[in-house]
Each structure stands twice: as C-alpha cells, then as structure tokens.
C-alpha cells in the first residue's frame, strides 16, 4: 500500500468505517510508515481538539432571550390560526 492510498482511506479508517481486511492493510502500513502514522495521529487529535473545544457557546442570558422570543412568536402564530402554524 502506498501513502496516497492510505490517505484516501484515512477518514474511513478513523471513523471505523472499513472492513477488517482493509483495516489490517492500513494498520500494516502505519506500522512501518512514520509519516502516515504522524498524519493519522495528528488528524485524530485535530478532530478531538475541535470536538472538545467550546467554540461559539451560547451564553445563558442570550439563550433565554432567544428562546423567549421564539416561544412568544410561536404563540402568536398559533393564535393567528392554523394556516399560520
């Protein structure tokens, strides 16, 4: 297996969306190809860092304000009649 083939399967490999045979081939490649090992490991870390990061958290006061506005408009549409709901 060449590095380019490994890379094309990287997403499936990290997501566990491959059959056992392909996984074994990829594991074998990783065992001797340091560059692909590093790329694979740091890609995994990239995903984990973004997944665990708290980017764009919705502050609680804003959250309450938005929800109140949404609920109030839903009530208004409900009152306006079924064609508005």
């Amino acid at each position: 297996m060449k590095c380019k083939e490994f890379l094309s399967e990287l997403t499936n490999y990290l997501d566990g969306a491959i059959d056992e045979r392909t996984k074994a081939e990829l594991d074998d490649h990783l065992a001797w190809c340091h560059n692909c090992y590093v790329v694979c490991d740091t890609t995994k870390k990239t995903i984990e860092i973004y997944r665990d990061s708290q980017l764009y958290e919705l502050p609680e006061d804003l959250r309450t304000r938005l929800r109140t506005a949404i609920v109030s408009k839903c009530h208004a549409r409900k009152k306006a009649g079924p064609e508005h709901v």
């Binding site: 990239t46 980017l55 764009y56 958290e57 949404i70 009530h75 549409r77």
Partner: protein, 223 residues
C-alpha cells in the same frame, strides 16, 4: 490506532412525541425541542456566518420556520437532521446577503486533491492544546477553521463537531455520501496541516529549534 468515538446520541425516544404534540399546537412541547437543540443551531450558524448577530437571527428564524412547517416533517429522518437542514439554509442565505461579492455555495469545489496532501508531517506535542491558555487556543482554533472553504467547513462542523453521521450530514447539506466523505477528508487534512504550525514539537521537523511557541495572529477571530 483507535478510531474516533462518535458523540453519544441524544435520546430520540420521546422526540417524536414532542414533535407530534408540537404539530398539534403544543408550544411547550416545541419549547423543549428548542431547549434541546438551540446550542447546536447557534454553533452551526456561527460557524457558517462567522457573525454573532447573524447567528442569533438564524437561531430564531430556523426554529420559527421549523415550527411553521412541522406538518411537512414526515419523520423519515431525525427531527434534528431536518432542523439542521433548515438552519444551514438560513445561515447560507444570511452569508450571501452579507457577502454578495463572494457567492457561497454548497457545491463549491476547491482546486484539486493536491491542496489537501500533507506537507507538514512533524509530530505534535503529547498534549498540544495545553501549550496555550484557553483564550489563545480558542483564537487559534477559530481562525484556523474560519480559513477553510465554506463547503469544507460545513461538512467538518456537522460531522466532527456536532457528531452527525455521514448519512445525516449528506441529508442536511443535500450532498451525496461520496461528496461528504471527500470534503470531510480534505477538511480534516487541511485543518491538521494548519494546526501543525502551532502544535508541533518545539524541536521542529527541520531540526530547527523553536525558541518560543507560535503565537496566534492578533485579530478579530471571535466576532
């Protein structure tokens, strides 16, 4: 190497009941759905629009549109996937309105595969995120993901940040499964490449000693 573990799914057992009740005019039931997903919709909207006010508007408009069109939700997909699809469309509309000079499309294709081939293969520190304080890390992550083409960014956010499956991401973005997989791979590789300059081991790949850690550029990453 172990695989990425998917986020634990929100229980959907009572979700259909909430949707049914909301369809029947029960606003309190709909409010529970808002509470369940407002944070996700806000995050997705902000990732797409990159603007706080737009993201706030998207949250309101997406939930109101969902409420008004609940009768069209047939239950073939999860309510959340259906809601995300509405939110993505609302966010894209706002983005286009704000930046009419730059057409933003879900079908946007960017250059060739070559743009994603790894060039930087230096290993990272064992706990790279601990090299920076929280504000620095947030800025690095925000600026890095903002630098991705919108069509890659959306796939990465839905799939890897929000934990939608490949199939759900394809449905929410109206893309084919191969398109989702291809964009996800390129998004992941490009993010990895760009983060490497911040997270690689101090003794750089070229044997160059790095005297100090890479500083994030000052700027307006957190709008």
């Amino acid at each position: 190497m172990t695989t990425i573990q998917p986020k634990v799914d929100t229980p959907v057992t009572d979700e259909l009941a909430l949707v049914q009740a909301a369809k029947g005019g029960d606003v309190e039931a709909f409010e529970q759905l808002v509470r369940r997903y407002d944070r996700n919709v806000f995050r997705i909207a902000q990732h797409i629009t990159q603007n706080r006010e737009d993201a706030e508007d998207v949250v309101q408009d997406a939930f109101l549109k969902a409420y008004s069109n609940l009768h069209q939700f047939q239950g073939q997909s999860k309510f959340y996937t259906w809601l995300v699809r509405i939110a993505v469309n609302e966010a894209l509309m706002r983005l286009r309105r704000r930046r009419p000079e730059r057409m933003v499309s879900l079908d946007e294709e960017v250059k060739t595969e070559e743009d994603s081939l790894p060039r930087e293969v230096a290993d990272w520190s064992p706990n790279p995120e601990q090299q920076y304080n929280q504000a620095e890390l947030r800025e690095i992550l925000t600026r890095t993901i903002q630098g991705l083409p919108a069509s890659f960014r959306m796939v990465f956010v839905l799939r890897d940040v929000e934990g939608l499956s490949t199939e759900e991401t394809a449905e929410a973005l109206d893309l084919s499964i191969p398109a989702v997989k291809s964009r996800l791979l390129r998004a992941r590789l490009q993010l990895r490449e760009r983060l490497s300059r911040f997270f690689q081991r101090r003794e750089g790949a070229n044997g160059k000693q790095k005297d100090e850690k890479e500083k994030p550029d000052p700027g307006d990453a957190n709008q």
